[in-house]
């Protein structure tokens, strides 16, 4: 992958406040031109990670490199990083053009060059001619694009975005997501993007890092995280999931036998259905069945009654009550009407089943 911007390397970088650990030591490599999303609930350390890169926080230990340069203790102003803040942090006393041109003005670029590059940046975010407007005259979506133009006009080595779409309404958010992806594919620039919206992560990213409590739980392409989550937390954070408590009965090099109380069945799974081969016996396990992998099948092994049928347009989501009393969600294309109380049978493909440690 050849891209604009520089690679980013964390070597054991960590942050704590007294005894409070905001970020456990992290080793992380982001390629030049890669779009990496940090996904996690609030307090998971993703904004701390971003602030370490931006230089707004100094790591308590460890090192951080941008390209070949160590920036661990370099002040923010010497890092050449573009940042888009959650609420944009546009300067309220400046016009749109002054905001966008700020990074160039403090670099003491000539006036003509600033004007030319600001105009180009505004044109890029489709705000040509808005230069003289006051920030307060712009809508939320326009402000978001000014913030993006301001971050990009300095040609940053790394672009950081901290929940940049949080303040936009749903429809607009979707449009901007697609726009951001298009822009990234045109001019690949190393980008770190923080969000707690998994859909956003799916749309935008080359790779996703799922974070929790100051650690990266799993990092990889979205499809990998979806198919092979390392634990039930990642499984529930990426995509929809049914998680059922399971117990390992027997295991050899090829297969494992597990008992799932909710299904009133024992299942035989290939060992590849679990993220790791070792130590499963000692930990609480959960069976992962994605709602979209469950199918209605009169010959299926599982009897269920429809408790709830939610019409989602082309899809219908069904909440099914099993004989054991456990609930399962199932998603299917809407074809025939299914109503509450109907008795159905459910089936699935063995290769779609995953066994994950509960966490």
């Amino acid at each position: 992958m050849t891209g604009n911007g520089l690679p980013l390397r964390f070597r054991g970088a960590t942050k704590h406040y007294g005894t409070q650990i905001a970020l456990h030591p992290i080793d992380l490599d982001v390629e030049a031109g890669e779009f990496l999303t940090l996904l996690g609930p609030s307090g998971s350390g993703k904004t701390t990670l971003l602030n370490l890169i931006a230089g707004y926080l100094a790591p308590s230990a460890g090192q951080l490199f941008i390209g070949d340069r160590e920036v661990t203790n370099l002040p923010a102003r010497q890092r050449n990083i573009g940042m888009v803040f959650q609420n944009y942090a546009l300067f309220p006393h400046m016009t749109v053009a002054e905001n966008v041109g700020y990074g160039l003005a403090v670099r003491r670029r000539p006036k003509e060059e600033i004007k030319r590059r600001v105009d180009a940046a505004l044109a890029m975010v489709e705000l040509a001619g808005y230069g003289d407007r006051a920030i307060q005259q712009l809508s939320g979506g326009q402000q978001q694009r000014v913030a993006l133009a301001r971050a990009l006009v300095i040609e940053p080595d790394v672009l950081l975005m901290d929940e940049p779409l949080g303040a936009l309404d749903r429809q607009l958010r979707r449009n901007v997501q697609l726009e951001l992806r298009r822009r990234h594919e045109e001019r690949r620039r190393t980008t770190l993007y923080v969000t707690h919206d998994q859909e956003e992560a799916l749309i935008l990213s080359d790779r996703v890092a799922v974070m929790r409590a100051g650690r990266i739980e799993q990092i990889g392409p979205v499809t990998e995280l979806y198919r092979n989550p390392v634990n039930s937390f990642v499984a529930s954070f990426i995509g929809e999931s049914n998680l059922l408590p399971a117990r390992l009965i027997a295991q050899d090099g090829i297969q494992m036998r597990i008992e799932v109380a909710a299904l009133r069945h024992t299942l035989t799974l290939p060992v590849t259905a679990a993220p790791m081969k070792m130590g499963l016996a000692d930990m609480p396990l959960q069976l992962l069945l994605r709602p979209e992998h469950l199918v209605l099948d009169d010959a299926g092994p599982l009897a269920a009654r429809v408790e709830e049928a939610v019409y989602l347009g082309e899809l219908t989501a069904l909440r099914l009550r099993l004989e054991s009393g456990a609930d399962l969600w199932l998603r299917r294309l809407t074809d025939r009407p299914i109503t509450r109380g109907m008795e159905l049978r459910v089936n699935w493909q063995p290769e779609h089943v995953r066994l994950v440690p509960q966490s």
């Binding site: 573009g82 803040f85 309220p92």
Partner: protein, 298 residues
């Protein structure tokens, strides 16, 4: 259309649940309080235009006689001039000390901040007469009694709390992320302060400056102690005159003080309004806010 609006207004009133009679009573009451506060002050102005050589209300016949006397008397003229000089110096000193103090207070830790704030506000809380004696005694040691500099510095000390409070309120409206964003875009800390922080605390600087000026301009207790012959301010001169000869010249001097105070506050509002016009809503109306927060200086 207008009928509909009236209808709406009426229904809003009903929704708010307060009977109209009560609203009227509240309004009348508020106006009475306002009159109680303002009328005695404004009453001075007509008495300054009195022809007679004693203070009476209403004036028996109108004249500018006492204005002429005011400007003909070198002592009155010089006291006005001294007051203006001292107030300008005091304002400059209070701003120069108050701005760094407010910036420092904002960064102080949660433990230290309330203590430091208390210390900075002390001149407002300690009775002025005590400050006056303390300042007088200290000034004797360094030979600043009876000098304009000495007077200006004492007034700066009294005015400092108002500056620190006004700028402090302004600073609370400055988003830390603006400063972070500017630093991230390559600005050093001085550039961040000059281009981001300072423009956004102008309302606080103006408000604090106006308060400092007025504090100095109408201060009499410390001034009586510190005046001597070299630095007799207008309030001191008024004080002396009242004790010797109670003529409407005193009312003229008082009218000047009222006029100046009114002009300054009007100016502060104007600057604020212009800023808001330019920068829109975000630059909050901090001047008025701090005035209502803190009341008028005693």
């Amino acid at each position: 259309m207008s009928g509909q609006t009236r209808q709406q207004r009426k229904s809003e009133r009903q929704l708010s649940g307060t009977p109209i009679a009560w609203r009227w009573a509240a309004q009348v009451g508020a106006n009475l309080v306002l009159a109680f506060l303002v009328l005695p002050i404004l009453a001075v102005i007509p008495t300054s235009f009195n022809q007679a050589s004693f203070i009476s209300l209403p004036p028996t016949s109108w004249s500018l006689r006492w204005y002429g006397n005011f400007f003909a008397d070198p002592e009155w003229r010089s006291s006005l001039w001294v007051s203006l000089q001292v107030a300008v110096m005091a304002t400059a000193a209070a701003l120069a000390l108050g701005l760094p103090a407010a910036l420092g207070l904002q960064r102080a830790g949660a433990l230290l901040r309330p203590i430091l704030t208390g210390l900075f506000l002390a001149p407002m809380i300690v009775p002025v007469i005590i400050s006056a004696v303390a300042i007088y005694r200290t000034a004797l040691d360094v030979g600043l009694n009876g000098t304009r500099i000495g007077m200006a510095l004492s007034h700066a000390a009294l005015a400092l709390p108002f500056v620190v409070i006004n700028i402090g309120v302004s600073l609370r409206h400055v988003d830390r992320r603006w400063q972070q964003a500017a630093a991230g875009l390559g600005a050093g800390s001085w550039t961040v302060f000059r281009s981001i922080t300072l423009p956004n605390i102008i309302p606080g600087l103006v408000g604090g400056g106006v308060f400092a000026f007025i504090t100095s301009f109408d201060e009499v207790v410390v001034a009586v102690f510190m005046a001597g012959y070299g630095a007799k301010t207008l309030p001191v001169k008024i004080w002396e005159s009242i004790r010797l000869e109670f003529t409407p010249v005193v009312a003229v001097a008082a009218s000047f003080m009222i006029l100046l105070a009114a002009l300054l506050f009007a100016l502060a509002r104007l600057i604020d309004a212009r800023r808001r016009q330019v920068a829109g809503k975000a630059a909050a109306s901090i001047t008025t806010e701090t005035i209502t927060d803190q009341g008028v200086p005693a």
